[in-house]
């Protein structure tokens, strides 16, 4: 088990390098002088020179990359071209808001999605099953931002129950969370359903029934445990979709999170921030998937020892 974790940890090292390389070259793929780009439009010639020197942009590429890595190690992501604040600071201020939405969304999604999937799978081709399946299909086809806008229309315009954006109270969290949850809960419900159906048709389910176990026991103790294995993997992947969806949701609800920061930065051509935020998101996503792999090993004994 320990070996497995170590192996997984080692395997993300090349990915981390890959991410840093990708971002390193992304910046340099832009037209024009990177130093200027990083400094932003408000910079003076001295600022530009300063940056050029700081990042070693006058030196060969591999030295630049080394400098870049060195900075990353110190958590130095440069300064925002817009506000001149350290990028790390900008991100740090907003990250908790995004994480809040993401965690609420994934929790709600699992809380509703998994039971819905189980109910659907244990009563196939009944009205309930069709209902869940249809709802799930709708959920994954709906554009996140449109759903957000529709919710605003219904709950903020027609019935002025909930605020249309911003933060402040728990009321502000509701609409953005529901919006984010919609896609994920649909996906999880579908995955749970198909995973459960697969497991319920396996031989070992028949064996369990042949021992005279109650159906509830068969479903939860024997079937669900097996079905969870692919579901866990999907939940990890969905977290990634959440981070992406957060960008859109935060824009709709003017939620002060990292997603909105990315969008504002792209529109303002604030490249240090763009680079930094994408890096952070990539890092978070990679770590989440690593965690999923470890949890996976806990659930599936076949992985543990091989």
């Amino acid at each position: 088990m320990f070996q497995y974790v170590i192996k997984r940890l080692l395997s993300i090292i090349p990915v981390l390098f890959g991410i840093s390389l990708l971002l390193f070259f992304m910046l340099r793929a832009l037209p024009g002088d990177p130093a200027q780009v990083l400094a932003g439009q408000m910079a003076t010639p001295e600022d530009i020179e300063h940056i050029r020197h700081q990042l070693g942009l006058d030196k060969p590429v591999y030295i630049q990359y080394a400098v870049f890595l060195g900075q990353l190690a110190k958590f130095d992501l440069g300064r925002s071209a817009r506000t001149q604040n350290p990028v790390i600071q900008e991100i740090w201020a907003r990250l908790p808001n995004t994480i809040l939405l993401a965690v609420v969304a994934i929790t709600l999604a699992c809380l509703f999605g998994i039971p819905a999937g189980i109910i659907s799978a244990t009563r196939p081709y009944t009205f309930l099953d069709y209902l869940v399946t249809a709802a799930a299909l709708f959920g994954i086809s709906m554009p996140v931002f449109w759903l957000g806008l529709m919710l605003v229309i219904v709950f903020s315009v027609i019935l002025p129950w909930l605020p249309a954006g911003g933060t402040g109270s728990w009321k502000h969290v509701i609409l953005p969370s529901i919006t984010l949850t919609a896609f994920v809960v649909a996906f999880i419900a579908r995955m749970t359903r198909s995973s459960m159906l697969e497991v319920l048709s396996q031989d070992y389910t028949t064996t369990a029934r042949s021992k005279g176990l109650k159906e509830k026991v068969v479903v939860i103790k024997h079937a669900l445990k097996n079905a969870l294995i692919p579901i866990i993997t999907v939940v990890g992947l969905q977290f990634g979709m959440l981070l992406g969806g957060a960008v859109l949701t935060e824009t709709v609800f003017a939620w002060p999170g990292v997603g909105r920061l990315i969008v504002d930065s792209i529109l303002a051509r604030d490249y240090p921030v763009i680079q930094g935020t994408i890096l952070i998101f990539g890092l978070i996503y990679t770590l989440v998937n690593l965690m999923v792999d470890v949890i996976y090993a806990f659930v599936d004994p076949r992985i543990r020892y091989d």
């Binding site: 031989d203 070992y204 064996t207 029934r209 042949s210 005279g212 176990l213 076949r302």
Partner: protein, 328 residues
């Protein structure tokens, strides 16, 4: 052997149908036979003849719909098909147990062997966790798995095919059932392991006095273990006889064909004849031949065979054949 005492299991007019998108499949089409206390009854036939479905129907392990089971299955006098879910669950695992063909896929990969065995005892015998676990270890020892205490804590994927099958047998016999349905227990195993498993089953049968319905297409296993045999073809019983009689003097053309197709080393040199095969193939599930179902492949086919289903002829108290040849 069986005498005129009451049968442990009496199957009467069993019909199991599957309603599919393409039509109705009559997997078991009017089957009846008895199983007596402590005996080993062989249920023989090719794949698709309905023998597994018969066993699954006894314990009602088929999804209804699309399956539909009709008839009488009397176990110790009670018709199992009339029981509700609660009642049939009490029967499963405690009075009647089943073991399956593929030990690889029939054990739950995320639960330990010990857990899978002890949960049955906990449920049916009301034992507590520790007790049940000890019982499970004991059962593993009885099926000759070495180091049973350690093995009980392991997961199925760590065990070999033979060990898994033994674990399944341990699981099925843990509550001392009166009847064991063994669905092709040795088919998925190597020949040497097969012998071991058969050995264990014979010994345990002696010990627990369990009746066994041994479902297989392997006549060698039947010869070793069964005392009586029921032969099935295309969902019907075609012949029933004590094992020695069946091998010495098979009456139904299908049985003759089955026995004739067993390869015997030196046979060709001795008799100059090649391996007998039964021409044709098993009928498709939705296309049953009219009259006698075997008639398209029968070497002794008569006119009446094509038109009417043959009657069941009782030759002696213990023998019956479903064939027009015996009717005259």
């Amino acid at each position: 052997m069986n005498d005129t005492k009451k049968p442990l299991l009496a199957i009467e007019a069993l019909h199991t149908r599957f309603h599919t998108q393409d039509g109705v499949v009559n997997a078991v089409d009017g089957v009846d036979f008895n199983v007596y206390q402590g005996e080993t009854l062989g249920l023989v036939g090719e794949s698709g003849c309905g023998k597994s479905v018969t066993a699954l129907s006894i314990l009602q392990l088929l999804r209804c719909p699309p399956a539909e089971i009709q008839g009488n299955i009397r176990f110790e006098g009670v018709n199992l098909l009339n029981l509700d879910q609660e009642a049939i669950r009490k029967v499963r695992g405690s009075a009647i147990s089943m073991i399956f063909q593929e030990p690889m896929t029939s054990l739950n990969p995320v639960l330990t062997i010990g857990e899978q065995i002890s949960e049955a005892v906990r449920l049916h015998e009301g034992m507590r966790y520790q007790e049940a676990w000890k019982w499970a270890v004991n059962m593993l020892q009885m099926v000759q798995i070495s180091g049973p205490r350690a093995r009980a804590r392991e997961y199925p994927h760590k065990l070999s095919g033979g060990m898994r099958q033994r674990a399944m047998i341990a699981m099925a016999l843990s509550c001392n059932p009166q009847l064991l349905l063994a669905d092709e227990p040795t088919t998925a195993l190597d020949v040497t392991i097969q012998a071991q498993i058969m050995d264990i089953m014979v010994r345990l049968k002696e010990e627990f006095k369990t009746a066994i319905v041994l479902i297989t297409h392997d006549l060698g296993v039947i010869a070793e273990m069964a005392s009586r045999v029921v032969v099935m073809y295309a969902g019907k019983v075609v012949e029933e006889a004590p094992v020695k009689d069946l091998f010495k003097d098979p009456r139904h053309p299908y049985t003759r064909g089955l026995l004739g197709s067993i390869p015997v080393i030196g046979h060709k040199a001795q008799t100059g004849r090649r391996l007998q095969e039964i021409p044709g193939i098993v009928p498709r599930p939705l296309e049953t031949p009219l009259g006698c179902r075997f008639h398209p492949r029968c070497s002794s086919v008569m006119d009446i065979c094509r038109k009417q289903e043959p009657p069941m002829i009782h030759l002696t108290e213990y023998r019956r054949v479903n064939c027009w040849l015996e009717a005259s």
